[in-house]
């Protein structure tokens, strides 16, 4: 349905062809008309000339006869001689004109049809003897009587024939002109007919195309209308100026609980629905949506209208949904955001479900708390309560099974059950078992109205059986928790925490060594008398020791080749030593027999990182070592999984300060590096 540029011409191709045909036809007819008119004009001239031949022939004969007569009577004959000369000259010129002698090969004679040509030839043939006879008369100043007689004889005998031929030629040429005029008419008629056909074709095509495109537009409009009438979501377009588009889904007013006119400002729409703060967020967000630089994934995440709780109406209630969700999709045109397609969902039900679920979770957690509350009570009392409660519920259950099918027996049963449940409720409340007492209370609520009734039936007992089951389950849960606690207490105590720590350190060191293709031996030594570590200290050790050991293996220990070259054993050693002072404080050292830390190397690295030369040169060894603890500094140029990001020592410093420990670093190039953590004595 979209007009595509390259097919645009195609759509109008036939129309353009028809117009071109029309123009070609017109041009053709115009050329033909001009040509034929020219021919007719020439034919008219020929007809005139042929007619003149007849007159001049007559005049010539008459002039000859007059001349002879005047000569015989001795009169002056100059006038008739001049007339003769004049008519001869006129005849010759006319004939030459017809023959085309004066105009060369392109003259009329050349373009004449065979029949005219033949008539003209006969005319010339008949004229020739007269011409021969007249010439001596014309050329002599005083023509001889014999010459005049001869000329008269030639003219008189041929004049009739000559006139006859001139008439024939005239008629023939006339007939030819009439036929040309007729064909000119036919051609014009034909051309007008074709032009009309062409015109009707154009009109027909054009109208049909208009109708077709009208039909398509109407169908598209109909489809859009059906979609917009049917979707449950609210759909509309939002332009750059914040106006709503003309096309909207029918559900929109229902969702917003108000009429939504096309062209309405989005600000006005949300002003009545949202709190002021949300409105501002929405405006900011829409501004961002029109900004192509912000990434779509981020935009989606930032949508402040994904879950919107609608503000209540003036009467505190509002019709329709309580929660809406807005989704915005960018409508792009040539890389620019032209508008936003806004989709509005009614999420009231989902929100209700989510609230219900959250409520259920909160209840579940309160049940857990209630179960844990039992641990605060005297175990003997709790055990007694569970036992007596179970006995009472068992009795109620038994009574339900044995009851006689009569109203009085039912009433007695209900009273019995009520007393039993009431006792359970009281005892549970005293022991702080709120969940049990709540359940028992619910049971009482069921029994209270039944106690007042006289018309009890067997059906009334069914909910009681159900409630007995529920309450028994609650008691059983408490029993289970207690059993688990007992089992937990009785479980054998696991090994000393140091053993875990040792295992962890060894495992890590070997893993790092393996990854970096080094050989390492780890020794972890505890003091004879293990210090009494509190949980906090142990957690700090778990955080810091792996970092130090990782550093020792990654930075301290050299590769096998380097070690051999330095005259060391191929296998490096990392030793972790625990010691306690007399004051009871703990110190832990991590020592490797690796390359040590060279101040020259730190200097070089600092210069490499672009620090000023004078500053670096003026730094003491202590200051140089201290830079190792600054964030982002690493001696290693290439980072790998275990080192080179300049984060390790900085982190250890932070951790140590949190743990209240001091760090000491001692090192000897090509010999060892030792980090010692000195913890404060436990208070």
């Amino acid at each position: 349905m979209n007009p595509q540029p390259h097919t645009w011409l195609g759509k109008y191709r036939e129309l353009l062809a028809a117009i071109a045909l029309f123009l070609v036809l017109d041009l053709g007819v115009l050329i033909f008309n001009t040509y034929t008119s020219h021919l007719i004009e020439r034919d008219t001239a020929h007809i005139n000339t042929a007619g003149e031949l007849r007159v001049y022939s007559q005049q010539l004969t008459k002039a000859l006869l007059t001349l002879r007569m005047e000569m015989q009577s001795g009169d002056s004959y100059q006038t008739s001689q001049a007339q003769l000369s004049e008519s001869y000259s006129a005849f010759s010129t006319a004939l030459q004109h017809l023959q085309g002698l004066t105009l060369g090969s392109s003259g009329p004679g050349a373009s004449m049809d065979p029949q005219s040509r033949e008539l003209l030839d006969q005319l010339v043939e008949t004229w020739e003897p007269i011409n021969t006879g007249v010439l001596p008369v014309l050329n002599a100043a005083t023509p001889s009587a014999w010459d005049v007689d001869d000329a008269v004889n030639r003219a008189v005998t041929r004049n009739v024939r000559l006139m006859q031929l001139a008439d024939d030629l005239t008629r023939h040429l006339e007939a030819q002109a009439v036929s040309r005029a007729a064909s000119l008419r036919y051609i014009q008629l034909g051309a007008i007919f074709l032009a009309s056909l062409n015109f009707f074709f154009i009109v027909f095509k054009f109208i049909r195309r208009l109708l077709e495109s009208d039909r398509q537009i109407e169908a598209a409009r109909q489809e859009t209308r059906e979609i917009l009438d049917t979707v449950r979501e609210g759909l509309f377009l939002l332009d750059r100026d914040g106006h709503l588009g003309i096309q909207q889904s029918r559900s929109l007013p229902e969702l917003f609980g108000r009429p939504v006119a096309p062209g309405l400002k989005f600000d006005e729409l949300i002003a009545q629905l949202l709190e002021p703060e949300q409105q501002e967020a929405a405006r900011d967000y829409i501004d961002l949506l029109f900004n192509r630089k912000v990434k779509p994934a981020l935009l989606e995440e930032l949508n402040p209208l994904r879950e919107v709780t609608l503000a209540a109406g003036q009467d505190g209630r509002r019709k329709g949904p309580t929660h809406l969700s807005f989704e915005f999709t960018q409508v792009l045109e040539q890389g620019e955001v032209r508008a936003l397609l806004v989709t509005v969902f009614d999420i009231s039900r989902q929100m209700q479900l989510a609230r219900d679920l959250a409520g259920a979770e909160a209840r579940a957690s309160s049940e857990v708390e209630s179960l844990l509350a039992v641990l605060d009570q005297d175990p003997a009392q709790v055990r007694d309560f569970l036992k007596s409660g179970e006995d009472r519920l068992g009795m109620v259950n038994q009574a339900l099974q044995d009851v006689q099918p009569e109203a009085r027996a039912y009433a007695e049963l209900i009273n019995f059950a009520f007393r039993a449940i009431h006792s359970i409720k009281g005892e549970a409340g005293a022991l702080g078992l709120l969940e049990v007492s709540r359940q028992a209370h619910q049971f009482e609520d069921l029994l209270t109205p039944l106690r007042r009734r006289q018309d009890l039936t067997g059906d009334d007992l069914i909910p009681i059986a159900f409630q007995v089951g529920e309450l028994r389950q609650k008691l059983a849960q408490i029993g289970e928790v207690l059993a688990k606690v007992r089992r937990y207490q009785e479980a054998p105590v696991s090994q000393h925490p140091f053993v875990e720590l040792k295992k962890q350190i060894e495992h890590l060191a070997l893993k790092v060594a393996e990854d970096l293709n080094k050989k390492v031996r780890v020794e972890v030594n505890f003091p004879q008398q293990a210090p009494n570590l509190d949980e906090r200290l142990l957690r700090h050790l778990h955080e810091m020791l792996p970092q130090l050991v990782r550093n020792a293996v990654a930075h301290g220990i050299e590769s096998e080749a380097e070690r051999l070259q330095a005259g060391k054993l191929p296998e490096g050693t990392v030793r972790v030593e625990f010691a306690t002072t007399t004051e009871g404080s703990l110190s832990v050292s991590v020592r490797d027999d690796g390359r040590g830390i060279s101040c020259a190397r730190i200097r070089a690295r600092l210069l490499e990182l672009g620090h000023p030369h004078e500053l670096v040169e003026s730094m003491s060894e202590r200051e140089l070592i201290a830079t190792l603890f600054t964030p982002g500094f690493s001696l290693q140029e290439e980072a790998n999984e275990h080192a080179g990001r300049g984060v390790g020592l900085d982190l250890i410093r932070d951790m140590a300060s949190r743990a209240g420990a001091r760090i000491r670093l001692s090192t000897l190039p090509n010999a060892y590096t030792q980090f010692t953590l000195q913890f404060q004595p436990a208070s």
């Binding site: 967020a281 900011d284 961002l288 982002g632 980072a639 999984e641």
Partner: protein, 123 residues
């Protein structure tokens, strides 16, 4: 090409967590150039080290993240900023993005989420 990262958060725990996560194998071209605990420190460090990336908390003492983003956006327009803030801060986050931040990460976040957000920003 190695990119320089500045971590800005008033919580040391968060700072260290982000720093530790940057050792992740998926972020091989990231070098931490500084850790800042407030906006003023962040602006100072950023001007000194000209980081390519900054992770930015919004609620901080001395100078809040909002103000800090405005300053960085003016002085270091090439620096890309990832806002790392609590979920309830959506309105503030929108403002931060409008001021020139390029990414947003909710607190609390998982390791994967932070790595993804940083990778997205490094692209």
């Amino acid at each position: 090409m190695t990119m320089k990262l500045l971590i800005v958060d008033d919580s040391m725990v968060i700072r260290n967590r982000i720093a530790r996560l940057c050792q992740d194998m998926r972020l091989p071209n990231l070098e931490i150039v500084g850790l800042a605990g407030d906006g003023q420190q962040a602006v100072a460090l950023a001007e000194q080290f000209r980081p390519d990336l900054v992770t930015m908390d919004l609620t901080m003492p001395k100078m809040d993240g909002d103000e800090c983003i405005s300053r960085l956006a003016t002085r270091l327009p090439e620096t890309r900023i990832l806002v790392v803030s609590a979920l309830s801060d959506k309105t503030t986050a929108l403002k931060a993005i409008k001021k020139g931040a390029q990414g947003f990460l909710h607190k609390p976040f998982s390791d994967d989420e932070l790595v993804e957000a940083l990778l997205e920003l490094m692209r």
